[in-house]
C-alpha cells in the first residue's frame, strides 16, 4: 500500500509529543536488540578462559535468544500502533488523521 502525499500538513502539540514518544520507543527497541546480542557474547567470552568460554558457548540457548530478538519488533510495533491510534482519535485535523 503506497502512502498518499499529504500537502500542507501541520502537527498539533499532541502529535509532536506522540512523534517524540515513537522516537523514544524506537531508540529503546534498537538498544535492546543490540544489548541482547552483546550481553550474550560478554557472558561467553569476557573474563573467561577457553574452557569456561567453551562451556558458556555450549550452554547458551541461541534458540530462545533468537526468539527474544524476533519478539522485540513485535513488542515495539504494539506500542507504536497504540500511539498512532490514540493520536488519531484525539486529532481534529483531517490531514493529521490521514497521516
Amino acid at each position: 500500500m503506497k502512502c498518499p502525499t499529504i500537502h500542507q500538513l501541520t502537527f498539533s502539540q499532541r502529535s509532536k509529543e506522540s512523534l517524540e514518544e515513537i522516537k523514544r520507543i524506537k531508540s529503546l527497541s534498537n538498544l535492546l536488540s543490540v544489548s541482547l546480542a552483546t550481553g550474550t557474547l560478554s557472558t561467553i567470552f569476557l573474563g573467561a578462559n577457553s574452557a569456561t568460554a567453551s562451556y558458556s558457548l555450549n550452554s547458551t540457548d541461541f534458540v530462545t535468544l533468537t526468539k527474544a530478538m524476533k519478539s522485540v519488533p513485535v513488542l515495539t510495533r504494539s506500542l507504536i500502533e497504540r500511539i498512532a491510534a490514540k493520536t488519531h482519535m484525539y486529532s481534529t485535523n483531517p490531514k493529521e488523521k490521514q497521516f
Binding site: T60, K67, S71, L75, L79
Partner: protein, 162 residues
C-alpha cells in the same frame, strides 16, 4: 500468607549468594523465553480486538471528550489485563536475571523501560479517567464489553457518531 511473603523476600535477598552457583545462562534463557511469551500473548490480545457496539454507552450521558478519555483508559486496561500473566512472568525473570549478573544491566534497563511503557500509559490514562464523575464511572465499570480488547480507532468512530 505473611509467612510465605517473608520467605519469598528473604530468598530474593539471598539470591546473589545462591545464584553464584546457578549458571547465569539459565536466568538469561528464562528471560529470553519470557520476552518471547509476552510478545506472543500481546499478538493474541491484539487479534482479539473487536469493534464496540454503537449502544455501548446507551443511557449514559457523556461528552465527546469524555468518550476519548474513557476509550483510551479502557483500551489500555483491557490490553494489559489480557497480557498480565505473561507480563508478570517477564518481570519475575527480569528481577532474577538482574540479581544474578551485572552483565545484562543495559539489556534489562532498556527491556524493562520498553515493556513497562504500557503500564505508565495506563497510570496516566487512569488519572484522566478519574476526572469523570464517580456515578458515571460506576456505570462504565459495569460494562463488561469494555474489559475485553477492542479496536480503539474504529470503536471511537462508531461511538462518537451517537
Amino acid at each position: 500468607m505473611k509467612f510465605i511473603n517473608k520467605l519469598y523476600f528473604s530468598l530474593l535477598i539471598s539470591c546473589p549468594a545462591i545464584s553464584n552457583e546457578i549458571p547465569v545462562n539459565m536466568f538469561f534463557t528464562e528471560f529470553n523465553q519470557k520476552i518471547a511469551n509476552l510478545a506472543e500473548q500481546e499478538k493474541i490480545c491484539s487479534n482479539k480486538a473487536r469493534v464496540l457496539n454503537k449502544d455501548t454507552f446507551q443511557n449514559i450521558k457523556i461528552t465527546p471528550k469524555e468518550i476519548q478519555v474513557i476509550l483510551e483508559y479502557k483500551d489500555l486496561n483491557a490490553f494489559i489485563s489480557c497480557s498480565n500473566e505473561k507480563r508478570l512472568e517477564y518481570y519475575k525473570a527480569s528481577v532474577l536475571l538482574r540479581l544474578s549478573s551485572n552483565v545484562y544491566a543495559d539489556t534489562l534497563d532498556s527491556s524493562d523501560e520498553l515493556i513497562s511503557t504500557h503500564e505508565f500509559w495506563l497510570l496516566k490514562a487512569k488519572k484522566e479517567y478519574e476526572t469523570i464523575a464517580p456515578e458515571i464511572r460506576k456505570k462504565l465499570d459495569a460494562i463488561k464489553e469494555l474489559d475485553k480488547p477492542f479496536n480503539l480507532i474504529t470503536s471511537y468512530e462508531v461511538l462518537s457518531k451517537q
